[in-house]
């Protein structure tokens, strides 16, 4: 594997990683208030007792 090819492959992996982070952040924004995982995180609807 030539150094040039390695550079291209490495940069491709970095780009895919950044894309994965962006997709992850976008998906989280689309979820409802709280984490949306059904784990009871308080939302804005959380009223203090």
């Amino acid at each position: 594997m030539t150094p040039e090819f390695q550079s291209v492959a490495a940069l491709g992996i970095v780009a895919l990683t950044l894309l994965a982070f962006a997709v992850r952040a976008w998906r989280r924004r689309r979820r409802p208030a709280g984490c949306g995982g059904g784990c009871a995180c308080p939302s804005v609807k959380f009223k203090r007792g």
Partner: protein, 707 residues
């Protein structure tokens, strides 16, 4: 007995969907043990488990091998929720959550040694009009305490199957599965006298819930009773809000009662307890005088003002000793595996960016985190053991005295303890704290407890601070303990400050149950430990892997001209430029741009500081032996020739890491748990500010004193 139309409608037959049971019960009644006994490894855990607050779904099998879904709901003393996790239990049972369908049937587990109190939740659940199976757990402990419980009589009184059980050793589980397999589960015969003054309000609210909130009649009655106990104030994500019409009716009744002095909530609770008291009197017989039990005798020491502290100190000491000693061998093993893997990649590939990305980015980054897996497993094994035996409740009880001095209660102890391993599970565990302000204060101070990710930084700095083999081990241990103590004192100090300023509030009285001591359920403890370990690994393999790759890129690009040294390449890189930009802010602390790179990169994870220093100073730290890196650090100099890593700088750097909020994951979790950017940003500001100020004082003070 055929199911009534409203239940049948909500309960498709086995051909279309397998039956779903909700498992509910008071905290510490053996619910999780029963869940594990029923479902074994067929469990699916929600995204972020806390100790008892996560949503777990498992599959049990009927006597004929048919799958049965079991949802393990958070422990609750009543459907009147006082914390977010209790609110989930209430909302699932009432069908208020869009993400979880209302369960077809309910499996209610009670602690037989404390039947009357446990029956309060059962009583509320029977109001729902769904098929219920009652599990009388800990029958052996009840028998030892001289309690005789007539299960058949209880079955007749409530009109539901009652199964005596010892979940910890599996006794009664087969009978329970047989009961769960029944398609003809009877509906509860549940009649209790709603006070006459309240009955019209119940009827009107029930009718409104049916008409305007689309509730089924029986569920609506249960919800009306709950609304009238004035305990419906806690709402969480996913809760369906009340329709304006129902809210209006409720408010008008409350105003009417307030004006004529009627204690409607008290009347409802008392009426319920009268009904429970009558049932308990008929089914429970106490043999003998009921003298102190073994648990009472142990508690005389375990909760004693002096012996209790000594016992707690010993237990905590043992816990930390185990974390540091037992983890050593597996950590070395993981370290060797990681190093061998990196060597193998280096030997198999020619030089180039891809090889560097794999070895210096992915393997070094993930390996640097995975190495802490043994410590995480040991910590959670011990925490599970302490919970399983019932000692954790005593620890919280003892700590309550200390916590109350800073304005918190003992429930903050477990999250803070968990934060010694990692602030993230610690912050998750704050969900069990009912008081909103106490919860926020605990979240704000939890990252000050020295987590395991700080350990490599401390080890490296101690190695540079006190070089030489002639330095007694006690000195190094002493410095390490000093860092842990500083973090703990800092956490308590800031909790005290916040409770008197930003989040003022009287220290709440803690009411908690001390469950009887019991032998630990090793299977459950191992389950919990492995679950935590898996989540930790999953995070290392996803988020941390990604961050490591990005960090590698930032330190490798843009490329320096051919022939440049590693250090020149670094100075030229994006990370190097960021370090230079940061230098004016950190120079008063004795840190240069190279340390600045470490500070920036360790925002991803504190331990990344060590590997970054290795890259920056062109030396690779090998396992726990930090000698090569230490040597490089000691040889590092400022441009004017002064030594960079003087003992004072090393000590200052440790102080900085004790207080600084160097963890993006924690910030993200705080954001999610508080559902606001306000608190994580405040936390980042106050922790970083404190770290800077204290580091400045230490460094400049040390220089003034001639160090």
């Amino acid at each position: 007995m055929a199911l009534p139309p409203h239940i049948a409608a909500a309960t498709p037959g086995p051909a279309t969907r397998q039956p779903t049971y909700a498992l509910v019960g008071n905290p510490n009644c053996g619910k999780s043990t029963l869940f594990n006994a029923l479902t074994g490894l067929k469990q699916k855990v929600g995204n972020y488990p806390g100790v008892t607050v996560e949503k777990k779904v498992g599959t049990a099998y009927s006597q004929h091998g048919q799958p049965i879904t079991v949802i393990d709901l958070p422990g609750a003393y009543s459907l009147a929720a006082r914390s977010p996790d209790e609110a989930v239990t209430r909302d699932v049972l009432l069908g208020r959550r869009a993400d979880t369908p209302q369960p077809d049937r309910i499996l209610c587990i009670v602690d037989a040694t404390n039947l009357e109190r446990n029956l309060y939740l059962v009583h509320q659940i029977l109001d729902l009009g769904r098929p219920v199976i009652l599990v009388l757990n800990m029958m052996d402990v009840a028998a030892q305490a001289g309690l005789e419980i007539q299960a058949e009589r209880l079955e007749q009184e409530l009109g539901i199957p009652v199964i005596p059980c010892q979940a910890v050793n599996g006794q009664g589980v087969i009978e329970l599965k047989v009961a769960m397999s029944r398609t003809d589960l009877p509906l509860p015969r549940h009649a209790w006298d709603v006070p006459a003054a309240i009955a019209p309000a119940v009827a009107e609210i029930q009718a409104s819930l049916v008409a305007h909130d689309r509730k089924l009649p029986l569920s609506a009655r249960a919800e009306a009773l709950l609304l009238l106990t004035d305990q419906d104030s806690v709402r969480v994500a996913g809760s369906t809000p009340l329709s304006p019409r129902t809210a209006e009716i409720l408010k008008s009744w409350q105003q009417r009662w307030e004006s004529d002095g009627t204690d409607w909530a008290g009347m409802l609770v008392n009426s319920r307890y009268d009904s429970i008291g009558r049932i308990a009197a008929q089914v429970v017989t106490q043999a003998g005088a009921g003298g102190p039990t073994l648990s009472d005798k142990i508690d005389a020491y375990a909760t004693h003002p002096l012996w209790g502290w000594l016992m707690l100190g010993s237990v905590m000491g043992l816990l930390f000793l185990s974390i540091f000693t037992l983890a050593e061998y597996p950590m070395n093993l993981i370290d060797d595996l990681v190093a061998n893997l990196a060597d193998w990649v280096k030997g198999s590939m020619g030089e180039g960016d891809l090889r560097d990305l794999i070895t210096d980015g992915a393997i070094a980054g993930v390996g640097g985190v995975v190495i802490f897996l043994p410590q995480i497993l040991i910590l959670f094994f011990f925490i599970g053991l302490l919970e399983s035996t019932g000692y954790m409740a005593r620890a919280a009880f003892i700590m309550d005295r200390l916590m109350s001095r800073v304005g918190l209660n003992g429930k903050s102890f477990i999250p803070l303890l968990g934060s010694y391993a990692c602030a993230i599970p610690g912050i998750m565990a704050t969900r069990t704290i009912e008081d909103h302000k106490d919860r926020i204060v605990t979240i704000l101070v939890a990252p000050l407890m020295s987590c395991s990710a700080r350990l490599p930084v401390y080890l490296l700095m101690i190695a540079a601070l006190v070089p030489g083999d002639r330095v007694p081990v006690g000195t190094k241990v002493g410095i390490m303990l000093l860092m842990y103590t500083l973090g703990t004192v800092g956490a308590f100090g800031f909790a005290w400050l916040f409770k008197r300023t930003l989040l003022k509030g009287a220290p709440p009285a803690m009411i908690m149950e001390l469950p009887p001591y019991r032998l630990p359920g090793v299977r459950d403890v191992l389950f919990q430990m492995l679950e935590r370990g898996w989540l930790f690994l999953r995070r290392a393999g996803t988020v941390i892997l990604g961050i490591s790759i990005v960090l590698w890129f930032l330190s490798a690009y843009p490329k320096a001209p051919d022939g440049a040294t590693n250090q020149q390449q670094l100075a030229q890189s994006f990370a190097g430029r960021a370090g230079h930009a940061l230098e004016p802010a950190i120079a008063p602390l004795g840190f240069d741009w190279q340390i600045g790179i470490g500070l920036i990169s360790s925002f991803a994870a504190r331990e990344v500081f060590v590997s970054t220093m290795g890259v920056v100073f062109n030396a690779e730290a090998e396992g726990d032996d930090t000698a090569p890196l230490r040597k490089a650090l000691l040889e590092a100099k400022w441009p004017d020739g002064r030594a960079l890593f003087t003992p004072l700088v090393c000590f200052t750097l440790m102080i900085f890491y004790v207080f600084a909020m160097q963890c993006i994951s924690t910030i993200a979790v705080v954001r999610r748990e508080t559902n606001s950017w306000r608190w994580p940003l405040f936390q980042l500001g106050y922790m970083t500010g404190t770290a800077w100020i204290l580091s400045f004082i230490v460094y400049q003070g040390g220089r003034a004193l001639g160090f």
